[in-house]
């Protein structure tokens, strides 16, 4: 497929290859992700804060958002290379999406002091979240 190198990044972000505007096949760090830390990153309001928009199989956390789709069973629907691009920069897939790019610094506007040129997550945190999402194979129980 068509392979593109991501545009030059201002900060010291690692280079990665997007294939077909649909996947990032290779780990950003060359290391496997740690699903346990991935869950911590997904919950942390200063990091992934994924619960602000997504329902997830994390019953110990109150208040799951509903502006994005539920992530129950997401590990059945995708491979790591799909999830990696969605977290790095889901606007490659859907330019209109509400979901922030977690590993991109260029093209942003009026970023608050102290957050410029910094991605929301580090490359390893992205890998950790991908590894965690792959463990989410249980489908949401039906409630009536």
């Amino acid at each position: 497929g068509l392979a593109l190198t991501a545009p030059a990044q201002a900060a010291d972000l690692v280079d990665y290859k997007v294939v077909d505007d649909w996947t990032i096949p290779e780990s950003l760090t060359g290391q496997p992700g740690d699903p346990v830390n991935g869950k911590v990153v997904a919950i942390d309001r200063k990091l992934g804060n994924c619960l602000s928009c997504h329902k997830m199989p994390i019953p110990e956390e109150q208040f799951h958002g509903e502006t994005g789709p539920s992530l129950w069973g997401v590990g059945n629907r995708y491979e790591p290379e799909h999830l990696r691009l969605r977290i790095v920069d889901s606007k490659v897939i859907n330019p209109e999406t509400m979901m922030p790019a977690f590993y991109r610094v260029e093209g942003l506007h009026m970023v608050k002091d102290g957050f410029e040129d910094q991605p929301i997550l580090t490359a390893q945190q992205v890998e950790d979240v991908v590894a965690y999402l792959m463990t989410l194979t249980e489908e949401e129980p039906q409630t009536n």
């Binding site: 804060n49 619960l51 602000s52 928009c53 109150q62 208040f63 799951h64 958002g65 509903e66 502006t67 606007k91 509400m98 922030p100 790019a101 942003l108 506007h109 009026m110 970023v111 608050k112 002091d113 957050f115 910094q118 929301i120």
Partner: protein, 255 residues
């Protein structure tokens, strides 16, 4: 009368929001929880009333080198100020840009009273703004975007629709696309301005619409602009215009 209890809850569930809904425009009141609504509805419980008292006494207070009070020129606020706030922000010939109610009040302070302007977010400015706006309570918001206001409305609209901050979100993502949806523990509303200045439980005080803008900008890790900046005043024009027809609710109460 205070309308709470099961009957009220049923009415709410059916989506009959009375005066708080006009067509598809809904006040933040209709997204607030029942306790918050009850607090707003009950004059004795509504904590914003303290600020209205400050505004009311300032109205009579002579200040500045002209030695005048608001009341000396405008008489009884209940008469002279009725309906005034429904038109704000307005285009000002004197400044060549939009003027919101806070700025109009401070214009009278500096030009007509030769007094110091009230500071943004001071109890005096919030109280006076709330007091003046309260004289239009229940009247429909009716800002004009014709003539010279048009170009400022366009700037406000552009601000509203532009992504910003590290989270790269525009106002539209939350308040147009997702009104009614939960974002973590908060139910997103349409982000209407008709209740401001309002008492926010999180702030433990009354705050201006510009304070709310700063909060929303900050939450998406975007730069906060100064109170009363041209950008926020133009944004206020756009936000207020979106709510044309909704009743003025000042002083509202929110979580």
């Amino acid at each position: 009368a205070l309308t709470t209890g099961p009957a009220f809850a049923d009415e709410m569930a059916e989506g009959k929001w009375g005066e708080y809904q006009v067509g598809d425009k809904r006040s933040g009141y209709t997204y607030a929880g029942p306790e918050t609504r009850a607090m707003q509805d009950d004059e004795f419980q509504n904590p914003a009333m303290l600020w209205l008292d400050t505004g009311m006494s300032e109205w009579e207070n002579a200040a500045g080198d002209a030695g005048k009070a608001c009341a000396d020129c405008h008489g009884d606020a209940e008469e002279s100020m009725a309906g005034v706030a429904t038109k704000y922000p307005v285009y000002s010939e004197e400044t060549g840009k939009m003027m919101n109610l806070e700025q109009r009040i401070n214009f009278c302070r500096t030009e007509n009273m030769q007094a110091e302007p009230y500071k943004w977010e001071s109890d005096e400015l919030l109280g006076m703004t709330a007091y003046v706006k309260n004289q239009s309570k229940g009247m429909p918001v009716d800002v004009s975007i014709d003539g010279p206001a048009k170009e400022f409305w366009e700037k406000g609209k552009e601000f509203y629709e532009t992504r910003r901050g590290q989270l790269d979100l525009a106002c539209t993502h939350c308040h147009v696309d997702n009104a009614g949806n939960l974002i973590r523990a908060e139910t997103l509303s349409q982000g209407q301005g008709n209740g401001f200045p309002l008492y926010r439980l999180k702030w433990q005080k009354v705050g201006s619409l510009h304070r709310r803008f700063r909060g929303c900008n900050n939450n998406i890790r975007a730069e906060k602009l100064p109170y009363g900046s041209d950008e926020y005043t133009n944004l206020e024009l756009y936000v207020t215009w979106r709510g044309n027809g909704l009743p003025i609710e000042t002083p509202a109460v929110r979580k």
